[in-house]
Symmetry: C2
């Protein structure tokens, strides 16, 4: 139709399936297999719902101040959003506004090129080496910005913080965004370097290690000037993104450090156990430091395993994309869920 | 600094003040003076917080299907977002992507030009006449899109739906967005015309008439093709914008029609009462069909009244902008709050 000529056309991001029915072993979207802290439940139960008539605090101060205490930075160094996707999308819009291409790995979170397309940001992907490692020289060329996830997704590979620091230091003319969605599962954060590099921004999320994907909370930490620019763009978009339940529940989750440590510890233990089991079944795995493993079988194509698992109500993630089309990304569930997976695979491989 | 050359600079929207302390008669941000439906409270109390570990349904089906039933449209005709600001921002990005300027009134919601600036959309404002009415010929010129709030803000003036229909019909080459944030307070919706005009989109919100500003829910209704484009852009931005509490609480609010009617009825009654009182005190008012009035005093400058009110803990909204810098926008509070306002003004005008 006539009005369609003015429409922005775009290829949207495709998220992992969310099966409607129960009985599924859901290891496909990197959710936490454990519930959020019970303190989150208490806060929601006690929420004064009458207060919902008012706009929420647009600075989400209760949450921001708690994050500031937790990470030992100033409140002005923190930006919060509707999941880290919101934070990253706003960062792309804010910081990747030059003419030169931005850089990110060729195998990485598949939202980066989607954001670049929708905001018309030129980009170039830098090939990981055969072990899915970053080649730092790739990021020492002229660019309009850099985004690197660490640990990377879907590989789970943790890059050495020293290598990333070299990249940040080599690019004073670009904002370097380190996407640490999975860092709590045994990775090393770049946060201690924020004070040293005004062009470094770290993004994290409550969706994985804090088990709050359903609440939508992500955040960025950087120097105040950089965060100020990000806020300006955010406040040109939507003043009130963080609803009252998210602000209060996010704060409660942060304050329950004991529960957080326990949950993350269990996931790490299960991951290491699952790695050994899968190796025993003929899989090759990266040394994932995230809440998933990235696995390829020595003889059975990943696509076939993916289908067999799905038919048996075990959901994992598979991409039919160059270089990773023989790998599966398997979220770490409970020990019981992983035992179900391993038992099925053992039998499947034997019977095949 | 060096990296700043790639940064998008923008003048953010400035929202009304959110006073931290209590004891304020808050008539400055068009919030509902009554709480949301008690059903909202029940749903939040009963929320299975453990379910927050999972990503929410990215299509927000429970909320969308309830909206579809309520407004007698198909679920595919509905788009939901983080407040109507999110919905409008996404619409600007999606539909106003041509080279020609988009059109909107010169006196209107002050986010429109902010979105146009941040997305680099050329725009032209069309002057309202002396009675703050739209001049329809202004919208029958070449354009890249049209956005009109009805009732308008901050004037509260309701435009005749027939006039708006002429504008929609005259612009088959443009998407026409009618922003009906305030329509529930006695306005007439364009929704019955959605089926007739494929280029018409209506946007509404839960923040005003449903008293849920703190929860962040807005929505758009249009034909399925148009909504499909909007979803593509949205899914290029953030897959999961609506958290679980918003989906469930929004549904609960919609289903409590009796409470909604009662609340809206009380606000309309109080508005009409307040109009008479203010007229008696020497104010000229538009015939507002929203949850606020737009008032100018015959002898005292608006700015002085604004200051005097603020010093006495009564917050209203004032803009130092051409054509409206002698007006106040006063949100309709409870009858008691409006009596406090009127009593103060009566005394203030007498003593002055």
């Amino acid at each position: 139709m006539d009005w369609e000529k003015n429409v922005r056309r775009t290829e949207p991001y495709v998220a992992g399936e969310q099966p409607g029915q129960g009985g599924v072993v859901k290891l496909n979207t990197n959710e936490c297999p454990y519930p959020p802290s019970p303190k989150v439940g208490e806060v929601l139960k006690g929420l004064d719902f009458e207060g919902l008539r008012l706009y929420p605090d647009m600075d989400a101060k209760e949450l921001v101040n708690t994050l500031a205490d937790y990470y030992h930075v100033k409140p002005g160094q923190i930006f919060v959003g509707v999941g880290s996707d919101d934070v990253l999308a706003m960062s792309f819009l804010t910081f990747f506004n030059g003419g030169k291409p931005i850089l990110f790995p060729d195998i990485t979170y598949s939202f980066y090129d989607v954001w670049a397309e929708v905001f018309r940001i030129p980009y170039r992907t830098c090939p990981l080496d055969g072990d899915f490692r970053i080649q730092k020289e790739d990021y020492q060329k002229p660019n309009g910005g850099i985004v690197i996830p660490n640990p990377n997704a879907p590989t789970g590979v943790m890059e050495d913080v020293g290598v990333l620091e070299e990249i940040v230091a080599a690019n004073p003319g670009s904002v370097v965004v380190i996407d640490e969605a999975y860092v709590d599962f045994g990775g090393e954060s770049m946060l201690p370097l924020i004070g040293r590099y005004p062009n470094l921004m770290v993004v994290q999320t409550f969706s994985k290690s804090r088990a709050m994907a359903g609440m939508r909370i992500g955040f960025a930490i950087a120097n105040e000037k950089l965060i100020g620019y990000l806020k300006d763009v955010k406040f040109s978009f939507n003043s009130y993104t963080m609803g009252l339940p998210a602000i209060l529940a996010g704060k409660a989750a942060l304050l329950d450090q004991a529960y957080f440590k326990e949950t993350v510890g269990k996931i790490i233990d299960t991951r290491e156990w699952a790695k050994e089991q899968l190796k025993g079944l003929g899989f090759t795995l990266t040394d994932s430091k995230s809440n998933f493993v990235f696995a390829s079988h020595r003889s059975i194509p990943a696509r076939e395993i993916f289908q067999a698992l799905k038919e048996n109500n075990i959901y994992v993630r598979y991409w039919d994309k160059p270089r990773i089309n023989n790998h599966l990304r398997i979220t770490i569930g409970t020990r019981e869920q992983m035992e179900t997976l391993v038992a099925f695979l053992e039998n499947y491989i034997k019977e095949r």
